[in-house]
Every structure is written in structure tokens, then in C-alpha cells.
């Protein structure tokens, strides 16, 4: 198998970062990163530089998602090259600083892998977020994590949508990996969520370690949920929501939503049904932070991606 000329070669992943507090009120990542900054024994691996880092300290201090603007949308080329220094919104300044420290985005000097730790109020369980269907290294890592975590579930969300994809903190790395665990209220630390995130990160670091030691990972397939469409709440002429996620849809992340199924409930008790033409798999259902982003949930479709074998170059 080591002579398989379809094996993709990647440089050893020597520089890895773990981001917490990209949203200051998503407590698992904040807590884990603070712990590891004090005592990194748990995350150390031979031959690997692992840097835990709080990306948005002001937001963490105030226990808010962001101070001026969402840091996890801020890593656009426009923002990264903006001039203005202190006049820029806080998170744009932070994005530039993070790009200097862990990037520059798109360059050979960028960190190999960044794990960005997030929580959601949605009932998503453990979710890995993938930004490119062509990243064989990430696909192999996610395959490894899913298998190691089984029988507990760890699903993969792929956001490659040309319009809905956004410029994340982790996108400065060559291999960006989002880790989203829910449900957990903003500002709350739940032990089950905290432990789950700790475990999936451990598996991720084990994978990198094994890869760096020269292990070849054979070709594999990975089931993913590909983002299709953002669904907003029904709103009135003033932009106020006029309905809530229906009780039948609430908490049903990753379960099929069929045409005709209940989707929203108005305040006076009427049901609004899903009018799509085919079955979709909704996720990020009723995420607190997305009311202002006009999103009640996002639809996905199930796909199986193939990843070539990979091996250290």
C-alpha cells in the first residue's frame, strides 16, 4: 500500500494551534484553553508544537460573543489588509494580529492545523466543521476521530457554499478544523459538553502524532452533511420574527426534514410547513447567535466524500 501512487503526501504537521474564546461566551473552549495555558501536559505530543490560544480576550472577559463584530467572520482579505490601526473594530485588529501570529493566511509560513473550539445552543452533539471537500488530510483526520469516538457520534458539517461560507479564525491555517459541541447555553459550562470536546481533541492530536510518525492512512470515505441553504424565521415588515422553530423541529438537528413537515409555529399557534422540493437535513436549529444573522436553521444534504491515502512527505 505504501507504493500506491494515489497516496497524497503532506509535510509533517509541526505547528498546531487550539483556539478558544473566538466567541467569548462559548465556555468549553474558553475553559479548556485557559486550563492548557496553565498546564499543557494533557495536550503535549512529541515532535509537535501545540499552542493553546484565546483569540478574543475582550469578549471572553465580558462573556459576550463579540465586542464590535463577529471575530469568526472577520478573516476576509479585505479585513486582513485594512489600514487604520486602533480605529479599526476590535475584532478586525484581532484578526490581523492572529493572521500575523498563525498565518499569513494562504502562505507557506501558516500554521499547519488550527482547531477552533465552539459551542452551540443547537442540539448538534459533537460536530467537526470542514471547509474544503478536497482536503485529504482533514478528511482522514475526521475519519480517524469519528472512528475513535464511536459508538458516540461525531458528525461532519461541510461548508463549502460559495455564498454561505465565511472567513473563520481557523482559516489562517493550512488545515482548519472547527469543533462545535452542543447543546450548551451561552455563558454556561456543562460537564458533559466539556468532556466530549476534550476527548475529540485528544483523538485529533493522536491522529496528528501518528501521521507525523510516518503512519500511512489508507483511502477512506467520510460521510458529511453539506450546507445547502440558510432558512430565516418568518418576519414582519419591521424585521421582527413572527414565528418560532416548531416543537417538532426543535432539537432535531441532523434528522430528515421532509416537504410538508412542520417547520415554524406562529405566536398564535399556527404551523408553517417546510416547502422545499426534497428531504433535507437541518442543523444549527435555533442557535441563539444566529437570530441577528437571519438564520433559524441551515439545511444540508448527506454526501459521501472520498479521501485518498495520505502519508508524511
Amino acid at each position: 500500500s505504501s507504493n500506491n501512487n494515489n497516496t497524497a503526501r503532506f509535510d509533517a504537521a509541526r505547528r498546531v494551534a487550539i483556539f478558544g474564546g473566538t466567541h467569548g461566551n462559548e465556555m468549553s473552549g474558553v475553559t479548556l484553553v485557559n486550563l492548557w495555558m496553565q498546564n499543557s501536559a494533557e495536550i503535549q505530543r512529541k515532535g509537535l508544537e501545540i499552542k493553546p490560544f484565546i483569540t478574543n480576550p475582550k469578549a471572553v472577559e465580558k462573556c459576550v460573543r463579540y465586542v464590535d463584530t463577529d471575530l469568526n467572520r472577520a478573516f476576509t482579505q479585505e479585513n486582513l489588509s485594512a489600514t487604520g490601526g486602533d480605529e479599526l473594530p476590535y475584532e478586525v485588529q484581532r484578526a490581523q494580529e492572529i493572521n500575523r501570529m498563525f498565518g499569513p493566511k494562504g502562505s507557506a509560513e501558516a500554521y499547519d492545523v488550527i482547531f477552533d473550539l465552539h459551542n452551540t445552543t443547537s442540539n448538534m452533539g459533537c460536530t467537526l466543521i470542514l471547509e474544503s471537500s478536497k482536503d485529504a488530510f482533514n478528511l482522514q483526520m475526521m475519519n480517524y476521530i469519528k472512528k475513535a469516538f464511536a459508538p458516540a457520534s461525531c458528525l461532519v458539517l461541510l461548508n463549502e457554499h460559495p455564498l454561505l461560507k465565511y472567513s473563520t479564525s481557523r482559516s489562517v491555517a493550512k488545515h482548519p478544523v472547527g469543533m462545535e459541541v452542543g447543546p450548551q447555553p451561552q455563558g454556561v459550562l456543562r460537564s458533559n459538553i466539556f468532556e466530549a470536546m476534550r476527548v475529540i481533541l485528544k483523538h485529533a492530536l493522536d491522529f496528528i502524532s501518528l501521521f507525523n510518525e510516518g503512519m500511512e492512512f489508507p483511502p477512506c470515505t467520510v460521510e458529511v452533511f453539506r450546507v445547502l441553504e440558510r432558512m430565516d424565521y418568518p418576519r414582519d415588515a419591521n424585521g421582527n420574527i413572527i414565528a418560532m422553530v416548531h416543537p417538532n423541529l426543535q432539537d432535531c438537528d441532523w434528522e430528515p426534514l421532509n416537504p410538508g413537515d412542520p417547520m415554524f409555529q406562529t405566536f398564535d399557534g399556527k404551523t408553517i410547513h417546510y416547502q422545499g422540493s426534497s428531504t433535507v437535513y437541518p442543523t444549527f436549529i435555533n442557535e441563539a447567535a444566529y437570530y441577528e444573522k437571519q438564520q433559524a436553521f441551515v439545511t444540508t444534504r448527506r454526501e459521501t466524500l472520498a479521501a485518498s491515502a495520505i502519508r508524511k512527505a
Binding site: 447543546p183 451561552q186 460537564s191 458533559n192 421582527n240
Partner: protein
Amino acid sequence: MERTSVPPIHNVAICGGTHGNELTGVYIVREMQKQKMEKAGSVSVTTVETNPRAVAAGRRYTEMDLNRCFTDVLLSSPITESTLYEVRRAQELNAQLGPKGSAEAVDLLIDLHNTTSNMGLCLIFYSIDWITLHIYKYIENNLSSVPVRAIQLDIPSSKAYSLESVGKHGFAIEVGPQPNGVLRADIFNVVKEALDLTLQWLQKFSSGHSFEGGTVEAYTFVKSVDYPRDSAGKATAVIHQNLQDNDFKLLRSGDPIFQTFSGDILKYEGEDLYPFFVNECAYYEKKIAFHLAQRKTYSFPPISVKND
């Protein structure tokens, strides 16, 4: 107990948004205003969004927790340029719905809240008041989708700090679990049902109906427990999974309550008590991991309205 005659309830105020990120009350009040819910039989209904600035900001409060501003001291403190927004707002609400302790105060004030704790539906009140206990019993008998409980805070009226103390009678309806900034339809529906039952009861009461007496098991606040902290004041543990989501499940000495970040289990020591507000988000800054309560049984008499 002997049949008791109780003065009529002419008006009720239903309040939401006292904490701006507890969304059920905000949207219930807005919907009632949209439907022009102004009367329930002979009882007049007022709806108030109490902290609009906090609601607009999606925050619990802007400068100070509004629901701690209704003590006699704060309600009578002089207003200056530097007076915090919520202290000012509390005085406005006291003028509109009170004054607290006077004959002009609204007969019944109901304040709608959410919690991140797994508490089901709770009525929270200061005094053992026949109207409140009868309404509680009526809701408990008729609402089956969630557990319904009563919580009593044994604090004299002058020191009572929350909005419902402004009414002649008052209670908070606290429902969870719901994250801050999230509106769940199931929780909305439950609160709406509880309010419909309350208004039903008030109409029956006003029309002369006689209600049987009975007993209520209420949880009375005893003390609160903070997280273990390091020398810098940072919490060093998380609520143990055995306690998480187990509000109102009796806690005994030896039961795990915290798990430190390094994996040690910390156990409860003390008398058997009932935990509630377990892992309520807003209480981290108040240094509260959970509250503990005793459970007591109160009897209440049969009542009917006293004719004016």
C-alpha cells in the same frame, strides 16, 4: 381551615423582558399587545416590556440587574445624573404599577422569566398569600406537560428586591431550561398555558366562584453554594454530571456536586436539601453554582371573593 373572604382582583399586570435575554416573556408580552389582550372578563390586563434597552441589546441588563432594584431603599433613592439606568427604570415601573405597598398598586403582578436550569415551571413568591397559592394549585392541577413547583423566598417586603413585590399580590413565573437569547416554542406554549390558566382562575374568582382549600408543597430558599475557586477567584470546577439537570432532586451528604478540571470529585456535606437554579448562567457573576431549599407543606383555606 375556615373559608376566607378575600378582596377582589380588579387588575393584573403581566411583565416580560425584565431580563432582556430571557425571551419567552418578551414575546408573550408582545403577542398579548398585538392581540390587544386588555381584559379577562371583568379583570383588566396590562402588559409591560419592563427593560426595553436590555431587550434591544440582547443582554440581561445594561448597567444593573433590574430585578434587584425594587427594594424600598432603591425605590426611594434620589435620581441624579449618575443614577444607573435600571434604578431609574425601576422607579418608573414603581410609579406605573405601584407604588409598592400602597393602595394604588396593581392587584396582581406577574413577571415572566427563563432560566438555563432544568427547573420546569416554577412560581416564585415572597409571602404565603392565599391568592398566589390558589393560582399555583390551579396551574399545577391543570398543566401536565412540565413539572410545576412553588418556590418561596422568605424576605420581608421592604427588602424584597424583585419586580413582583410591587403588586399587592405578585409572583414570578420562571421556566427552563432555555438558553439566553433563544426562544423555544415548547416553553412559550407552556408559559402561555400557565397565563391562560391564571386569567381563567381570576375570572372565576371575580365571578364569585368558591375555591376549595388544600395544601401546597413549596421549596423555601435556605442558602446558596458557590463554585470552588482558586486564589485568583477563578472557578476550578464544573457542576458534576449527577447534579446537572437534577434540580429539585434531594441532595444528601456524600453526593457529588462538582468535578474539578483535574478530575477530582467534590461532594456535598450538610443536611438533606433540594438544589435549584443549578448552573444558571446569570448566577456565575453572583457567585452561585446552585441554591438549596427546604421543602415545606403549607395549608391554604377555601376562598371566595369578598364583595365590595
